[in-house]
Symmetry: D3
């Protein structure tokens, strides 16, 4: 398997965690979390730039890139308490979406087969077809639920003559049987797409999509509780976070910005909850487009989404030992000493 390596900037790892070669199965098996870059924006219908997402997300932090990030809130170090490695970028030529997505799927399947949780840094959202399929290749088709934060449903059919693109991955996942429609949960949808025909198809698949007015009326907590109630019999949950679920006023660096989204804080709270409460087996964070960003705020947010998920995974394990953390716990209680 070829890697882009030093294309699109220097070949660095996520905040300095150790490197890992995707060809080296022993190394993969030794890891719990494998970060994989998918520097691809050939599937975008509007603003490109997400090819620089993996590099930007890996670097966006003001602290030393030393492979350690102790969570102030949760009192775990998501990069050290788990065995986190970075396998670099899969080579994905923007002009050839089919070959690129196939290469990514193979890479993710390899990680999943090794027993590790892949954390994929996009790239545009078309990569989720590969990310989830690669995990399902190992966990079993139809057995993994998807929790999907996004402004857009991404359930379009053929566009521009292609089955693949960043508006279509969720349809492909369901049509291919990789994911069952009733195990697909979308949070944060809004705006003016898709139209009735696609919505009808989604309803037929028994997807559950939470539009922002519903979330606003009922509260994110109530919505997430519903999700949790349903996924209990799944072989795991794939968490897919499109950074455009956040309002473009706070996260401008993305390709298809739709006003009226979550605040950054609301997203961090939500992904922390998902990763602590649900059995996450794969993650992707997509649609960060650095050329449209301002002072790197969107890359920073995506970096923190990854860290919040990893911290919550570490915390979930610790919680399992009985040492359960609660959000209202004062920072400097007895645990510090």
């Amino acid at each position: 398997m070829t890697r882009y390596g030093a294309m699109y900037g220097p070949d660095v790892t996520f905040l300095g965690v150790p490197e890992c070669d995707l060809e080296d199965d022993a190394a993969l098996r030794a890891a719990e979390i494998v970060i994989v870059g998918a520097p691809f924006d050939g599937g975008t219908s509007y603003r490109a730039g997400a090819r620089f997402g993996p590099g930007a997300i890996r670097q966006a932090c003001y602290l030393a890139h030393d492979g350690s990030r102790p969570s102030l809130a949760m009192r775990v170090d998501g990069l050290r308490d788990l065995r986190v490695v970075d396998a670099g970028d899969v080579e994905m030529f923007g002009g050839d979406i089919e070959r690129s997505l196939a290469a990514l799927r193979a890479a993710i399947a390899r990680v999943a087969h090794a027993g590790a949780v892949p954390v994929v840094l996009g790239g545009d959202h078309s990569i989720t077809w590969s990310d989830v399929t690669g995990v399902a290749d190992h966990r079993g088709r139809g057995r993994v639920a998807v929790v999907h934060f996004d402004a857009h449903a991404d359930t379009g059919d053929i566009e521009f003559g292609s089955l693949y693109g960043h508006g279509q991955p969720m349809r492909r996942l369901i049509e291919s049987g990789a994911v069952r429609g009733d195990r697909f949960f979308q949070l944060g949808l809004r705006g003016y797409w898709p139209g009735p025909e696609t919505l009808a198809w989604m309803a037929q698949q028994r997807m559950r999509s939470y539009e922002m007015t519903e979330i606003g009326s009922r509260g994110m907590g109530a919505c997430l509780d519903e999700v949790a109630a349903t996924v209990s019999d799944c072989a795991g949950v794939f968490l897919s976070v499109d950074v455009d679920v956040v309002d473009p006023g706070m996260a401008p660096g993305t390709g298809t910005p739709e006003p009226g989204g979550l605040t950054a804080r609301e997203l961090l709270d939500a992904v922390r909850w998902v990763a602590r409460e649900l059995p996450v087996v794969g993650v992707d964070v997509v649609e960060v487009s650095p050329p449209y960003d301002s002072a790197d705020v969107t890359s920073l947010l995506a970096n923190r989404v990854v860290l919040e998920v990893l911290s919550a995974l570490a915390r979930r394990r610790l919680d399992g030992t009985g040492d359960r953390w609660e959000p209202a716990t004062p920072l400097l209680d007895g645990r510090c000493g």
Copy 2:
């Protein structure tokens, strides 16, 4: 009547809706909504740039410019379910505010007389004098209420030797008798202007102005309910949205940014409510200044404010048939099929 046409960029319509000639009364009468651009920033006291607002608001969208926008939340197509046309820009030379505002007032009056709802894309807020007066010319002076979202009261008196400017339109409207002071509702005010003398004048007019600390304490919903209780006997409501009602951290592309505003989500929720619950007869969206914007997020927001209003107007009609939509309705309930 002259039009700017291709000045300030190409002569395009709002997201591709059909063109309409302001001189063609038959065409105006066939329309329900007429979009009019007011590319004017000659009334600004600080940052200019709003002359590019109409062009930017028309173009700010990542979807095809095909004259259709099905609202995901409300299940209507605000551009197709209503007969929406775009009459282009009124010629408004920045250096001659009096003639410019007169030309705009004439254009709006023509639209109103034809029975259509004008939706004016500003331009700085001085245009609201023309927008509301033009509607009042048809609906009756003093009979139309104004619901005004803004960081600023815009009730200043003569400034720089001129009666007209973007800090004065609301005073002119009341002084001229176009609008009664007790039918003027302002939401989102904050900051350090105007001073006591002007506030005293406003109180004398029996205006009702909701400052952000009041909205924060009581909730936007309670404030809007108060407004609704009062406007029931009006001949209609003019909705004027100054994009600076949103916090400049989320909507930087505006001329007189005042920190501490609404989130984009809060504004969209509020205008949706207004357009569904109150009898809107005219709309303007003003003070988008593209040169100060970042990745077009402010233009996008203004575009969505327009779409949210149009969708809500379409929904209001459908609600009237008994098919009432509620914000908490799940997206994929029975209606999709």
Copy 3:
């Protein structure tokens, strides 16, 4: 004492308030509020630029720079109802942190000794060591409480071989005895710094630090009430506002941006509360870094933080006369006439 004067741009005062010479004790004694600029970013560990903070904060306003700002919400003029002067910038060479901090401390002590409240415009957060120490030099060591809004605890020990820097001032303040640990309140902390060792030290000092998940769970109001209950026996409160307590999506112009912060509105509400309810004897607003800002939104916010504090101080005095303002008061009630 030397001043930078016209370095880093023209020598202007905060929104046009009168100048004051730090050498002129009579002038200082005649003032109630003395604004001091600390154009220093030699203590930053990542992005510099805060040296331009004082100039940017002084100028960021669309209204005339006329030394008057009537608060729309609170009905006081923070710049006129109090005797506010601006003493310009202390000369602080970025390459020599020890001498720079000493010069600033001397300047602040002089202001405090004259009986005025210093309002220091940073500059990076290392200046808080000088700001609070200067006040404590006058009010009594260990007698002043600190209310500290920030994403970061700033309690690091020696870094890069130096005791001083923008990650360490709070430790230095406590270690030096200027402030007692149990009179130190931090609000808005989050992210991935510091680690357990530093937290243990903080707990030992009996500091009280509110991380964002606690604030999110319990509400800012509840947290501030706790603070208020504790500071009642202090000789005064120093309010230190690091603009990075706000989410970088809304306030990008800062040096160490950490996603997941307050909204601008939440910060303004909180500082207004603090300055009205607690006996503020000193203020600093720090870490505004103009080169990373977008359309000056962060400088504007910092300017409004200063104005909100000054307005609340003026209001506190008026409240004390029995004319108490409440946030839910309608803007145009009887007081306007």
Copy 4:
């Protein structure tokens, strides 16, 4: 043939020239110049964004978009003296380079067969394979010369597993026989690519490439004279202008910026000369990437490159009638009256 139409913004024509349907052969035959947009950046190896090039180049002008541009220097109106139409954008999905380039080639061939000169607005440089091949399909393979302004030779072989991409079109053109190597002229090359192997291949093809140090030493005029001497027996010249031939300090909005280029003035002078002195039968202007631009200066430059070429083509015709223009002619000589 499908068109993108309103994708990537509104469907506008170059500065307001008339529209033309690529399917309408009669309309094509009536035209002399047919502008075609190629909104494609799927072939880029680094920064994308050139998909927005066609829209940006069409709109970048401060004058009314009225289909007229009288050249101050040459006293012709390139948009009116020639019959110029705009056929809109060819649908080119970024993720499928092969199908996209084939669609473009067909479109260009259709224009060429109708007897018009295609002027293609890129898009990344991979489109030149289609542009020149489409012209050669009509004029005869190997019979058209190419004059190529660029920082890069674009003669790479297979990259990322694909024959096609923006670093390879010139090799493909020669290998396919569309263009003879000794009829290929490159001006402005510089930097650190390609390596010796590719240069050896280029030398074998008898290409003539002018690196910037040679141009600096000998002068652009001398180099162009050499080119002119060689192309006299060709069936025409295709002019391909990569905007990165200009120094990125003056034209930052491009994907692979290489310092040390021409000034904007030098490029305008050079393309004017080429279009007046050589028999141009096709043109493309490529690699404008708006997301990296500053105040649209690169889009403006590309717009002026197109206008300068069209003006020079109009002038060449007039020169042919004996009314020859010289650069040193004073602007206001007898011709004005």
Copy 5:
């Protein structure tokens, strides 16, 4: 006469030179150079923002704002060797061009009558009507020559129903008799405006306009020598510098950018030559539009154009004493000691 004073930012002087009150004739008579700000962009046809030009030009410098600038090249201090004062900004409301231009004309005439050279900081180019007329009011109508660096001729007739605007001042000056057409010299014109009719009018007036291709062919020096030969019998020369004469790739912060201009170096060389060789009696520097600038490079350039002119005026006086400076003089020759 009213002044804007603290509008559009703080009320500062050009690099710290002394203030001067326009109402104080004694102060004006004591000055040799009077800087006047004209913060007006109501005459712009495209991008506004030039209202912030005066403030930006006054502040754009990295050195202390201390009213001294020793020219490294010419060995004079343009701010100290001449008696330079700054009279602040004339109040010019953007929405009322006629009143604004009249107020500016009166201010300039007052300066001229006092015997000082006005240096006007624009503002858009419509102000030149006032600037030159004000000088001619004193020096004699038709007696002052104009040397005009610009990309545009600015000789348009009525536009948007107004005689005044930034595309028309030069016509108004000639039509009003303030300047004779044969004493009007334009350098740097280019692009696609105006058309034949206006050029014919210009030729009739016997204006002399150097388009960039003529300047490129003959050299700026030869063109300027021609100018010098003609102005010898005038009562003085007004130097009007539109910053858009420089290529927008190097000076993006302007309203109507036209590619193909001078380099910044070429402009500085040219204005130095004019101010040393010709009898300058008035100056304006216009069309700096800060919102479109990048890192303030255009404001910096305009600041340096002013300094270069003032330095050259000081040098011209010294040259007159026989101590003539030559550009080729080594910097550290005997004069330094």
Copy 6:
């Protein structure tokens, strides 16, 4: 010796060349060129940000970061034909200039003693004191000449109470005896600093400084020939390139921008000439300030300055074998095959 390593971003090498440990003398001795980062801006008097210079210069390139860069012009690979390694960044705390400069001097001396040529990536210009002194520590005090491209002389005396800062290094070098004044050559000076007193000191030292008007009159070639004639008896030449020698319109990302500079092309031509014709024993490239840059054009230019120097050094060796390259050589002559 401590290193910053992963501070200010990931720990990467210049375009992927091998790493080298400054502590490892054997490794240093095996190298010919040692790149050292000096991430320091504590010496700046105006805009900071140069601390991010080393990271930005290392990464600014669109080609794969593979440690190879074949020069198209000179037919050598500056990174491979020479043994180039990167020793990372020296730890330089911005707030402590004396300790920081001492640490850098020690690092450079170590490189020089090992027989390698240090290439230092700044950082502000205060580092040149360390860079040249470190080389002189090995080559002999007073024996190394300095060729210094800059807009500023950097020969100031004590500023802000410190001997060290970015306006003073050249004075310190001469006063300390590290460099003889008559072996100091400055090219590109301009603007309004320093004043007569400092110039007199410079003349006393017999420095040779070429201001831009002299360079413009005589040509850069003539000036460089003069330099070459003088340095023949030196132990080597240190080349110090301040990126602000280029016009800020083309290189905005710098701290003290002075209009009227070289073009990027002129700088590349000049440094190529110096490195081919003179015996270079040390290099620094300073004052790149990424936060003020636009699309990375200034970082790109600095990256190319380094590559041009390394390529020229490689070419100089090859030239020495008799295979001399000339700038006018066509690119594809016999050597390619």
